[in-house]
Amino acid sequence: MARLAEFWRRVVFYFQRSRMDRELAEEMRDHLERKAAKNAARGMTREEAVDAAQRQLGNSTLQQEQSRLAWGFPVLESWLQDLRFGLRVLRKAPGFSAIAILTLALGLGATTAIFSIVNAIVLRPLPYKDSERLVTLWTNSPQFPDFNLAESKLDFEDIKSQTQAFEAMAMYRTHGMTLSSNGEPERVVTIQVAPGFLEMFGVRPEMGRDIEPDDEQGTSGSVVLLSQGVWRQRFAADPHILGRKLTLDQKLFTVVGVLPRGFDFPDRDAFLVPLDLSVDEQQRRGYRFFRVLGRLRPGTRLQAAQAELDGIAARLASQYPADDSGIKFQAASLRDDTIGDTRSSLMILLGAVTFLLLIACANVGNLLLAKGTQRQKEISIRSALGCTRVRVVRQLLVESLLLAFLGGAAGLLVAVLGVDGFKALAPGNIPRLNELRVEPAIAWFAFVFASCAGIVCGLAPALHTTRVDLTDALKDRMAAGLPRGPRRFSLRSFLVVFELALALVLLTGSALMVQSLVRTLRVDPGFSTDRLLTAELALPAARYGNQEAAHMFVERLLDQLHARPELSQSAVTNFATLDGMLAMQTFDPGTLGFNEKPTTLEFKSVDPHYFETIGIPLLSGRFFTERDIAAASQVLIVSESLARRYFPGQNPLGKELSLESKRSGSKTRRQIVGVVADVRDVKLRDQARPELYSPLLQQPKIGSLHLYVRARTDNPEQLASSLRQCVWVVDKDMPVTHIESVAAAISQSVAEPRFRTWLLSLFAGAGLALTLIGIYGVISYSVSQRTQEIGVRVALGAPRKKVLGLILGQGLRLALLGAAIGLAGSLALTRVIASELFGVKPADPATLIGVVLSMLGIALLAAYLPARRATRVDPVIALRHE
């Protein structure tokens, strides 16, 4: 109570300070007069009396000062005073403040943004219950070396019945289906799931019920669950959706439930339907088309589960040698599986942005040092007036903290904008983008970091500047500066060298990435993309399950396409080009007399016009013709590399290859009738693989079709609509998806590396800009320090060129030192990104030399401006200067 009252009185007194001050002064004056009167009464003269009274009263200024301390909140007030003064200092030097705040904002904002991204995508657990126990399985089979395969139903059931490590397991597969009951036919993502799929994630439908074991996909239709996104966007969040019938792939599905918001595995906008297994899929162990999810028992480690899976795989291999010999099951945490390759990209970006932050801090430290040096005189005067060093250091620290706070606030803005930008610009294949935001904890951390940076950046200069010899500094600058001669290697120079080295490493990394990207894009894919368009069709099994119907569709579609005047060439194939997917065919080189293990070859079925349409040249033999149909003899066209690999020094034409059919397991022999040039049609960065082509009309089952058309005109919209019309003339219920130019598709295939390279270059550019400011600052300062020296030199007849060289030389020395350290750092660090590079080595001499030279050039440019100022020094003014 008493404390509260005292606090209140302090507040009241604080706001009445000026009145209190006046009254106190009046009181003390009164006191003096009374005392003087008393002294006079004792016989002193008037002057003596006043003097004595004053002496007895003591130092009245000090006493008033002490009295004032009693009134308010002295500690707080002195901090506020520092703060006010700090703000005034910042306002008085707007250029300095702006650069320092922007520098910090840039470094801190970029780091916070990238760290938020890393946190959201890589570090944070998936947003499901006990998500760290969720595991996904892959199969590796010697039949398909180098590939991760899904599971077959029979293997899955064996694993499920034998496992101890998993408490639950479920199968699912992602599928596309055509929704035709909701307006124009549309291709939608459907997930076929086994009962128990949702329970794996601890998720229940928000509305309606889950898929139950009885819900099989019969011919008469089945049930479907809608994801939250589908329900909201396609069905306007219809509250009476349950019980509604949808037509998917010509079959009726009844909506029985809606999934809760935030559940987005494996796709945000999906229709969940029960598993629909063909007879083969149910009975054949080699039909590995199902993704498997498992939930580990609490306390079971992934390694233990893996050991158990190895045992199961070995047992299955000996039990079912025909299908499972040599198989391995790989358990991967669902999170790692979801993140995939994005982790390494993000870690590279995080490393780069940390460098940027260090450069930013060094730069701010440098600016503060420069500022402190300019204020040396002010500080000396304060010290001379009795200000303690602690107080001066505190004042300087408050100023740098103020900068750090403003920089931190601006940095948060940069971070939020940066994360939004990342979300908007990032290529779609980056996982978990929808979870991305700047977390409050990270924002706080950024602020704390800013404060620490403020203290560190401020403390060194503060201690540095306050370590002044009073008399020296207060004397003439001439006396203080000259005897020491040109400044030795100062803290500031050290910081600039540090910045240069970091910026060089950043630049090298980004230059290597840029070159990789350019070289990737320069790769000749082996076909011509000029005005080439592609589109995708899915042939629903219900309508095109039998071979005749599918072949009829292909023939009628091709007739339509060829009749279009705006399309010069048209072709269809069953697999796309350059979308990262490939069709595989197991091939046993043993059948040709090679002593090698079975391998996989790329295998594509194409119509007769495919090669001419996309521009793959024929090397020998013939293309397919309209006569190569199912009933005719089975033929093949092989790629050049396949011919070289398996028929070295021979003419492959007329030779036969024995290929095992995935479908029936029977072997068919196909005769080679042509050899075509290699293409890179999976990934631009991958070498062309040996490839087989068969006639599309000799393919027993066609699930999806990819159209390739070369246009006569450059009107994408018109072409898209003619493609749709062609398809709809043949089948009005078939959606036409992924209509795009092949050039755009290729560009899309490098979207992720491009984005990453772009960001890295942005960071390198920012780092370079900051370093430039640093060099400029140091050289400018040095020129201003050496004004008199330069004046003397000029007065003694030194030519301007020599002065220019003197200053430039100083900049060059710093740049060379920084470049040397940065070069060493680059050689050590670029090895980290070796796996991300294409067509260029981490220690590429041309790149390194180029980067170092441009760095030196830019450093010289930054030194040139102050150097030119130095040459304009007028000796008369310089020598009179202070």
Partner: protein
């Protein structure tokens, strides 16, 4: 920037106690308090008179004395300080503490 520079010969903290004690006689202005302390101590306690004022400000803030402007004997404006009830209580505590300390010192001096 502020250095406590009181040169009075008093034990620390005693000045405030002396002021409180002086004010038990009734309202007084600053000069009066100073004169009283000097006279009562037979000029032994040479208070630097000015240091009285910061002490009075502290007592005001603590709420132990109250200050009111009035007219003095020679028709001049002066601030008269009076003891509050909290001040009286505080005086009691300080006097007791002081007493205990003096006795303790005295005991040490006698036995040594």
């Amino acid at each position: 920037m502020v250095r406590p520079a009181s040169k009075n010969e008093l034990l620390p903290g005693t000045l405030e106690m002396l002021i409180l004690q002086t004010l038990t006689r009734g309202a007084m202005h600053g000069y009066g308090i100073a004169q009283h302390i000097q006279e009562m101590s037979d000029e032994v306690l040479q208070v630097e008179e000015g240091s009285l004022y910061p002490a009075l400000q502290r007592l005001l803030v603590k709420g132990w004395v109250k200050g009111e402007w009035g007219t003095s004997d020679n028709n001049r404006r002066a601030r008269y300080y009076t003891l509050t009830s909290a001040g009286k209580k505080q005086l009691g505590i300080e006097a007791e503490n002081f007493d205990r300390m003096i006795r303790a010192i005295a005991r040490v001096m006698q036995t040594a």
